[in-house]
C-alpha cells in the first residue's frame, strides 16, 4: 500500500473505534438520562 492508502486505512480504523466507544457510552448514560427527563416532564405536567 502507498503512504496515502495506509493513512486512510488507519483513519478509517480510528473512525470505527471511536464510533463504537461513543455508542457504548451513550447507550448506558442515555438510559439514566431518559428516566430523569420523563420524571421531570411528569412533575411539570402535574404542577
Amino acid at each position: 500500500m502507498t503512504v496515502a492508502q495506509t493513512i486512510w486505512t488507519i483513519i478509517f480504523a480510528i473512525a470505527v473505534l471511536l464510533f463504537l466507544i461513543v455508542e457504548i457510552v451513550v447507550i448506558i448514560g442515555g438510559a439514566w438520562n431518559l428516566t430523569h427527563m420523563l420524571k421531570f416532564l411528569i412533575k411539570t405536567k402535574n404542577e
Binding site: A4, W8, A15, V26, G29, G30, N33, M37, L41, K45
Partner: protein
C-alpha cells in the same frame, strides 16, 4: 423481494415500538416548551443520543455512500473537516453557548434580540427556505434505499415516498420533541449497531485489497488525494473548510443544544458526539467504495439507473441487498428507517417551528396561546412534508446529492450563522449590516442551484454555476457585507447590546 419473514419481523417490531412511544409521550406534553424543546430537560447522554441519531439520517448514509462511490477515499477528507468542526464547537462553545445563555428557542430569535424584527423575520424566511430545499431530497433518497434493499418494483417509488412521509408526519405531529428524543434514543442504538454490522459485511464481501485496487484503477492517485481529485480539488476543500466551523450547527442540531439543561451540557454534547462524527461520514463512504468494487468485480450485476443515467446514489443499497444475510438485512432496514425518522422528524419539527416562531409570531400583534402555537406548528409540519414530497420527486441535483446539500447549506450558514457569529462576537455589528449579509448569503448560492447550463451565461460569469466557487464567494461577500454596511451605518443604526442569563 429480498426480505425473509425474519427481516419483516425486525422491521415491524421497530415500527410498533416507535408508534407506541409517540402515543405514550403525547400525555406528557404540558406546554409549548415541552412540545418543542422537551421542557429543556435533556441531560448529556440523552442529548448525545438525540444529536447523534439526528445527524445520521438514511439520507446521510445515501449521500455519503454516493460521495464515496464517486470520489473514492478522497471523500474521507469531508469527515476529517466535519470532525474538526464538531471538536472546535465542542471545545469553544462557539455560537451555541451564547445562544443557550440567551435562552433562544430558534436561531432566528437571536436576530430579534441583537438586531431588530425585520432581520428576525428575514433570517426566519432564509432559514426556512434553505432548510426546506436542503431537506427536499431526503424523502426520495430514503424511498430509493428501501426500494432497492427490500426489492420493491421501481414503479412503486412515488407510493413508497407517500407512505414513508405519512408515517413520519403522524408521530412527529403527535409527540413533538419528547417523542422525537425518546425515539431518537432507540433509533441511536439500532442505527449505530446496524452501521457497524453493515460495514463488516460490506468489507467482507469484496475484500479490502480489492477495494484499494479498484479505487486506484478507477480514479488513480485522485482516489486517495483529495487535492488532485477530479470531483473535489482545492476549491472544494477551501469551501468545506470554511463551512466546517459552522457545519455542526444546522438548525435541527442546534435545537438539541437549546433543549439541554444548561450551556455547558450543550458544549459537551458537541465535543463528545464529535468523536463519532468521523465514523458517521467514513462508514457509509466505505459502503459506497465497496459498491464501486462490487460492481467492478461482478459486471453481470445490473447497475441501477435513473432514466438513462447511472444512479450512483442507489449503488450502495443494491450492494447491501446482495451481500447482507437474512435477518441482518431486516435489522439494517430497521436501522435505516430509524435513521430516516430521527432526521426527518427533527427537521420537520424544526422547520415548522421556525415558520411559526420567527415568521408568523413576530408579525402578529396579539400573542397566540400555547395550544394554538402547537396547532399551527403541526399544520406547518404537514406543509413541509408535502413540499419535500413534491420537490424531491421533480428536482434533479446537478452534481452529487452531497454537493447539493452543501450549497443549500451554504445559503443558511453564510447568511444566518455567519451573521450570528458576528452579532455575538463583534460589538459593532448592527441591523443594516446583518440584513446585508442575510440577503447576500441567502440569495447568492441560488445561481449554482438553479442555473444548470453554464453556456447560457457570458464566459466571464460562468463561474456562477460552479457550486465550489459560488460557495467560497458567498462566505466572502456576506462577511464583507456585514462589516462594511455596519461600519458605514453606525450612527444611523447604533448596535444593540445583548443581555445574557446567568446559569
Amino acid at each position: 423481494m429480498n426480505f425473509t419473514p425474519l427481516d419483516w419481523l425486525f422491521v415491524c417490531l421497530f415500527l410498533f415500538m416507535t408508534i407506541f412511544f409517540a402515543l405514550w409521550t403525547r400525555k406528557r406534553i404540558s406546554n409549548y416548551d415541552s412540545y418543542l424543546l422537551a421542557g429543556r430537560s435533556l441531560k448529556l447522554y440523552l442529548a448525545m443520543a438525540s444529536l447523534g441519531a439526528t445527524e445520521i439520517g438514511l439520507v446521510t448514509l445515501m449521500y455519503f455512500a454516493q460521495q464515496g462511490y464517486v470520489s473514492g477515499f478522497s471523500a474521507f477528507i469531508i469527515g476529517i473537516m466535519g470532525l474538526f468542526g464538531f471538536l472546535f464547537v465542542g471545545k469553544t462553545g462557539f455560537i451555541i453557548k451564547g445562544l443557550r445563555r440567551l435562552r433562544c428557542r430558534t436561531v432566528a430569535e437571536f436576530f430579534g434580540m441583537r438586531f431588530n424584527l425585520t432581520t428576525q423575520v428575514s433570517a426566519g424566511i432564509i432559514t426556512f427556505v434553505a432548510g426546506l430545499m436542503n431537506m427536499g431530497v431526503f424523502l426520495i433518497l430514503a424511498a430509493k434505499f428501501i426500494l432497492y434493499v427490500v426489492g420493491i418494483p421501481a414503479n412503486l417509488l412515488p407510493y413508497l415516498m407517500i407512505a414513508l412521509l405519512v408515517f413520519v408526519l403522524m408521530y412527529t405531529i403527535i409527540g413533538g420533541m419528547v417523542s422525537v428524543v425518546i425515539t431518537d434514543y432507540i433509533q441511536f442504538i439500532i442505527l449505530f449497531s446496524g452501521m457497524l454490522i453493515t460495514t463488516y459485511f460490506a468489507l467482507k464481501s469484496v475484500g479490502y485489497g480489492n477495494v484499494i485496487q479498484t479505487v486506484q484503477q478507477q480514479y488513480g492517485d485522485g482516489g486517495f488525494n483529495p487535492f488532485i481529485s477530479n470531483d473535489l480539488g482545492w476549491s472544494f476543500i477551501i469551501w468545506m473548510l470554511i463551512g466546517s466551523i459552522f457545519g455542526a450547527m444546522w438548525p435541527p442540531a442546534i435545537s438539541r443544544a437549546l433543549s439541554t439543561t444548561d450551556s455547558e451540557t450543550s458544549r459537551k454534547t458537541y465535543l463528545f458526539i464529535g468523536f463519532s462524527f468521523l465514523g458517521r461520514v467514513l462508514l457509509p463512504m466505505m459502503w459506497g467504495i465497496c459498491a464501486l468494487a462490487y460492481f467492478k468485480l461482478n459486471p453481470s450485476v445490473p447497475f441501477p439507473m435513473d432514466g438513462s443515467a447511472p444512479d450512483t446514489a442507489s449503488a450502495m443499497p443494491v450492494l447491501l441487498s446482495r451481500i447482507l444475510p437474512a435477518g441482518i438485512i431486516g435489522l439494517m432496514t430497521a436501522a435505516a428507517l430509524a435513521g430516516m425518522m430521527s432526521t426527518f422528524d427533527s427537521y420537520l419539527l424544526c422547520w415548522g417551528s421556525i415558520f411559526v416562531n420567527d415568521i408568523i409570531l413576530p408579525l402578529r400583534k396579539n400573542q397566540l396561546s400555547d395550544r394554538n402555537k402547537i396547532f399551527l406548528t403541526r399544520i406547518m409540519i404537514i406543509f413541509c412534508g408535502l413540499f419535500v414530497l413534491i420537490w424531491g420527486y421533480f428536482y434533479k441535483p446537478p452534481e452529487t446529492v452531497f454537493r447539493f446539500l452543501a450549497i443549500t447549506g451554504t445559503m443558511y450558514v453564510a447568511s444566518i450563522l455567519l451573521t450570528i457569529a458576528m452579532g455575538l462576537y463583534w460589538k459593532r455589528a448592527n441591523a443594516y449590516g446583518a440584513l446585508a449579509s442575510i440577503i447576500i448569503g441567502g440569495l447568492f448560492p441560488m445561481t449554482a442551484i438553479f442555473i444548470k447550463d453554464a453556456s447560457i451565461l457570458p464566459e466571464n460569469l460562468q463561474w456562477l454555476t460552479s457550486d465550489k466557487i459560488v460557495g467560497i464567494a458567498t462566505y466572502g461577500l456576506a462577511l464583507i457585507g456585514i462589516i462594511v454596511i455596519s461600519l458605514v451605518t453606525q450612527k444611523r443604526c447604533p448596535p444593540k447590546k445583548l443581555v445574557f442569563f446567568q446559569e
